[in-house]
Amino acid sequence: MKRIFNQVIFSALLGMFFISCQSSGEKKKTGTVNSDQPAAETANNQPVQAAEKVHQENAVYKKYCLVCHQADGSGVPGMYPPLGKGSWTGKDPKELVLILTNGLKGKVEVNGEFYNSEMPAQPQLTDEEIADVLSYIRSNFGNSFDPIDVELVKKIRGGK
């Protein structure tokens, strides 16, 4: 136990010493994800290399969804529903977009289990990021649903 705690202390101290350099690293990472606006919009109008595309989708998931739904989409039992098999991931794209823009609250059933939690709205996401992340969850965690087009997201969001 002592050992674990010493590790905690040691790494947290390390973290504190390097806080400035770490956070500039964070910023850089954020920069890539958020190159979103102008850069990503342009990128979308041109043929994008598949690998890069996957990377970007994954980046949105990592930054905004992973904490609750987990790296493998398995969720947190009793708290945050999974995004894999039997989840709502294959539902009407409109419903999925609305979950991201409005959040979701109250008792829901996902894959035979009940959840009565709250997903915060994600209004910070651009249309492009919503299309990306929804396409990502629809083609991962054992899912193979069609991607969601950014034009559809635009229409649903009323051009925001």
């Binding site: 705690f5 964070e26 790296a71 493998d72």
Partner: protein, 429 residues
């Protein structure tokens, strides 16, 4: 707190036959543990068996003086939110299992011949009849008026010996932001949630239909959510463990690295007095700096304390996000002397220590003397998860959630992932 229920019921029902039945169970003689100790890693001399399995999402437990076990479920199963279990053939395992009651939830205790049950918005009790396993059909309402919450909704509770019941009312929020769990949203100041949430409320233990806002008394505040809460009869004092706030790094990447965010803040072991204020949402406990730090939602920078220099500190700090879900001060005679009056804590296990592996998923032990820890904490029982490393909580086959002490002194642990009830005994000399 189970031992508390046990003590109270023993005193209340004070009958020769009750005492006799305790003795029959004493020392776990004739009870053979499972070959693999139910998959658990335990200290030398301890062994374990599966008392019951797959009974539902088993949260907390209460054990009657005759050994009958009552378990709360987070979701009704087979028509009941409470499971009543009896070992009628005395092989140490349940052989009669009944589902009962329309309410589901977390809190459950036995007091003066009643099973008290904490549903998320109401606390009720069912009358027990001597000799019968299943309690009365119709519940009586003890405390009500709790709002429906979409997080930290559970209502665990405990009793003192002066006729009071203490109920955790968790905060329906992470850090009292204007928009919960939303980057850039500031903390509301003062936090209005604290009026009816984020603390421990006291009620009369046997008075019906008490409304939280009217008859409830805010005993302690600034506690985000304390699923583990118990009255220690030896010290005559309330103890609880707080689930600390989440997502520091996600919302404040300039102040916290992912790794710091995984390791901050500590889960806090609280010694709770009338009027205690532990500082949520304004403060959190940093186990490295060993102090309460101002939360970034309230202008904190990860170092300065500000108004938090007045917030009460924990008596012990545990790794972040490990989710202490139950607390039991051991009063039995089965376990060796060093465990007597010490604290067992069930850590449900973390979900937000990414990118580090998850942590917790064990039962810890803290030696106590004079109402405070007298040494370091240690892992007492491990291996519940059944996998080498828990990357996501769903990897864990079993997650410790509740603790109870049986009349013979064995320790029960409930698992809310797959509904296993473990029974841990000491038989090595």
């Amino acid at each position: 707190m189970k031992k508390l229920a046990f003590l109270i019921i023993t005193l209340a029902l004070w009958g020769a036959c009750q005492l006799n039945s305790n003795k029959n169970l004493n020392s776990a003689k004739g009870i053979v543990s499972d070959k693999d100790n139910a998959g658990l890693k335990l200290p030398d001399g301890f062994s374990a068996l599966v008392y019951a399995d797959n009974i539902g999402h088993a949260r907390h437990m209460a054990i009657n003086s005759n050994g009958d076990v009552y378990v709360s479920l987070s979701n009704v199963k087979d028509g009941g939110g409470m499971v009543c279990l009896r070992d009628s053939n005395k092989d140490g395992r349940a052989d009669i299992i009944k589902y009962h009651g329309i309410y589901d939830g977390t809190g459950i205790k036995i007091r003066n011949g009643y099973v008290y049950f904490g549903a998320d918005t109401v606390i009720v009790r069912y009358k027990l009849t001597e000799g019968e396993l299943v309690p009365s059909e119709t519940p009586e309402v003890i405390a009500e008026g709790f709002t429906a919450q979409s997080q930290h909704a559970t209502k665990p509770f405990t009793f003192d010996e002066d006729g009071f019941m203490y109920v955790t009312v968790g905060a329906p929020s992470n850090a009292c932001q204007v928009q919960d769990r939303t980057k850039g949203s500031p903390g509301i100041d003062p936090c209005p949630i604290l009026e009816l949430h984020g603390g421990i409320w006291r009620f009369r233990a046997a008075l019906l239909n008490q409304d939280q806002a009217k008859e409830g008394y805010r005993y302690a505040t600034g506690i985000r959510n304390a699923v583990a809460i118990t009255w220690n009869n030896v010290e005559n004092k309330l103890y609880a463990l707080q689930h600390g706030r989440d997502q520091l790094g996600q919302f404040y990447p300039d102040l916290y690295t992912d790794e710091q965010s995984a390791k901050l803040p500590a889960e806090e072991f609280l010694s709770v007095n009338d009027g205690s204020d532990f500082g949520w949402p304004y403060c959190y406990y940093d186990p490295v700096q060993k102090k309460k730090v101002l939360a970034p939602e309230y202008g904190g920078d990860g170092i300065k304390a500000g108004r938090c220099s007045n917030a009460e500190n924990p008596i012990m700090a545990f790794p972040a996000h490990t989710a202490p879900n139950d607390l039991l001060f051991y009063t039995g005679s089965m376990f060796p002397e060093r465990y007597r009056n010490g604290a067992f804590i069930a850590f449900h296990g973390s979900w937000n220590r990414n990118p580090l592996p998850q942590e917790g998923y064990y039962v810890a032990f803290v030696p106590f003397k004079g109402g405070v820890p007298s040494g370091d904490w240690e892992i007492f029982a491990n291996g519940f998860a059944g996998v080498g490393e828990v990357k996501s909580p769903a990897d864990a086959k079993h997650r410790p959630c509740g603790l109870a002490q049986a009349p013979d002194g064995s320790l029960f642990v409930s698992d809310d992932a797959n509904g296993r009830i473990y029974r841990i005994a000491y038989n090595g000399q």
